[in-house]
């Protein structure tokens, strides 16, 4: 059998072409999957949502703790101010508290700091703020600017006693707290690390009939 170089070359060329095409196809597929991965990077998977929920809940817990400290009569003025600073840091700029009572569904608006100051100024000798062991966390929805937004609902019980008048005031409020979720970047040892950050936003405070 005579070895046909021309045919071999043609076959080899074909094989090379085929390999080249396969390589391009694989590279293409790899890039596409990478791009898809990149494109999907901003989507929030159920597992990531759970992690974000935990982080958001931690911030809400911090807020609850701070509210209890600010509202307590045992807290020194300077300490309360320091805690108000910490509490304010949990919020996105411009966040407001919208408060309504059972008797009126109309909302009174307070800047976060003003709300804390009002809480601190309450004229009770004993203030007890507690929280119900129930919360609800909404889905996260994407805003036009790319950030995600969600709402966490919690319930607070307030009890204030005035020794002089013997007056005892109690209420239970539902707090719907906005959370903003944003992907951020930071440099650690020269490497860029991405992470999801949570900030609190507007809070709707509704007195409940409970």
């Amino acid at each position: 059998m005579i070895f046909n170089f021309a045919r071999f070359h043609a076959a080899l060329e074909n094989k090379n072409k085929h390999m080249k095409n396969t390589l391009i196809l694989f590279l293409g597929l790899f890039l596409a999957s990478s791009l898809t991965a990149l494109a999907q990077n901003d989507n929030i998977s159920p597992a990531r949502k759970q992690a974000i929920d935990s982080l958001a809940l931690e911030k809400v817990k911090d807020l609850s703790k701070y509210i209890s400290i600010i509202g307590s009569k045992e807290t020194q003025f300077s300490e309360a101010n320091r805690v108000m600073d910490r509490a304010e840091e949990l919020f996105a700029p411009g966040a407001e508290m919208g408060v309504s009572s059972i008797n009126s569904s109309e909302i009174a608006y307070y800047k976060v700091r003003r709300y804390f100051e009002r809480l601190m100024a309450l004229n009770y000798d004993r203030v007890n703020i507690t929280w119900y062991d129930i919360q609800y966390i909404s889905d996260l929805e994407r805003q036009p600017d790319g950030r995600y937004v969600g709402v966490i609902t919690i319930y607070q019980r307030f009890e204030g006693t005035s020794i002089e008048t013997g007056m005892n005031y109690k209420d239970t409020t539902k707090k719907d707290i906005t959370i903003y979720v944003e992907k951020k970047q930071t440099q650690i040892a020269g490497r860029t690390i991405e992470f999801w950050d949570v900030m609190l936003g507007d809070v709707r405070v509704t007195e409940t009939s409970a």
Partner: protein, 279 residues
């Protein structure tokens, strides 16, 4: 139906026994099941209606999860999504609705991003020194990288009788040969008439939202507060329902169906017109 309701009531009551759910440490108050039962957010209304979360609301079910849109779960949820204390919806109408929603052949689900639902908001404004209530219609629309609520229409009592376009042979008009005079008689419309709208096209309809925004930009309208919110749904084919918030003692609270209507041909347009066209 009653058995399902009792099962759900027991479930909600038992949620309070589960530990480790609270936001706080020791010292938190145990919910007796009322807050667990309450439909706390409209988001929860969607999830319950669709059967996309556990009865306690702590677990979100996603496509692929065994209980995602589970039939008995939905059946239990939908029955507690009605205002069962003050609502006047008959049991028969509810059953027909639930039958359609849970149809084994073509079940209906609510979709947050799809058209067919909108919000009606009552808000207080100061207009030329007086307090006035405006009804705003808001809807969800895609924008940029996500979604936003936008104002679709406004109904504002002070605008109610501003425009009163007369029709027929008694109205003022520009005669059909006005063009031959270079429309010099426009003076009749803009100077002599108290009803310049009489000179507009027969399909003329004032855009109250534009006027409202213009007055706001002129500092004649100032926002004060929001006083009420409700939602209107047309996403279940052949049905309309209204959802509003019930803040009262008991287990039947939160965002609930307050009004249910079975739609005949043409009813949808009539209801929409009633909600939108309140001027």
């Amino acid at each position: 139906m009653r058995i399902t309701l009792i099962t759900f009531a027991i479930l909600f009551a038992s949620i309070s026994i589960v530990s480790g759910q609270g936001i706080g440490s020791p010292g938190t108050i145990k919910d007796d099941g009322r807050f667990a039962a309450s439909t706390k957010q409209l988001n929860q209304f969607f999830r319950r209606f669709n059967g996309e979360e556990s009865p306690d609301g702590n677990t979100r079910f996603y496509p692929g999860d065994s209980l995602y849109r589970n039939f008995p779960l939905r059946q239990g949820f939908i029955q507690i999504l009605f205002d069962n204390q003050t609502g006047t919806t008959s049991q028969q109408l509810k059953s027909d609705f639930i039958g359609d929603v849970l149809s084994p052949v073509y079940p209906f689900y609510l979709n947050f991003h799809r058209e067919g639902w909108f919000a009606e908001v009552q808000a207080e404004f100061f207009y030329k020194g007086r307090r006035e209530t405006a009804t705003l219609i808001l809807k969800i629309q895609p924008e940029g990288l996500g979604y936003e609520w936008v104002i679709d229409a406004v109904s504002f009592p002070p605008f109610k009788n501003i425009f009163n376009k007369p029709e027929g042979d008694q109205k003022d008009f520009l005669h059909p040969l006005s063009h031959e005079l270079g429309f010099m008689n426009l003076r009749r419309a803009f100077q002599d008439s108290k009803l310049p709208e009489a000179f507009t096209d027969s399909s003329f309809h004032p855009d109250y939202l534009t006027i409202f925004l213009y007055e706001m930009k002129q500092n004649n309208i100032r926002f004060d507060t929001v006083s009420d919110v409700k939602f209107h749904f047309f996403q279940v084919q052949g049905w309309y329902f209204e959802v509003r918030q019930f803040n009262r003692p008991g287990f039947n609270t939160g965002w609930l169906i307050s009004n249910l209507v079975k739609l005949n041909p043409g009813d949808k347009e009539t209801i929409e017109k009633y909600i939108y066209d309140q001027n």
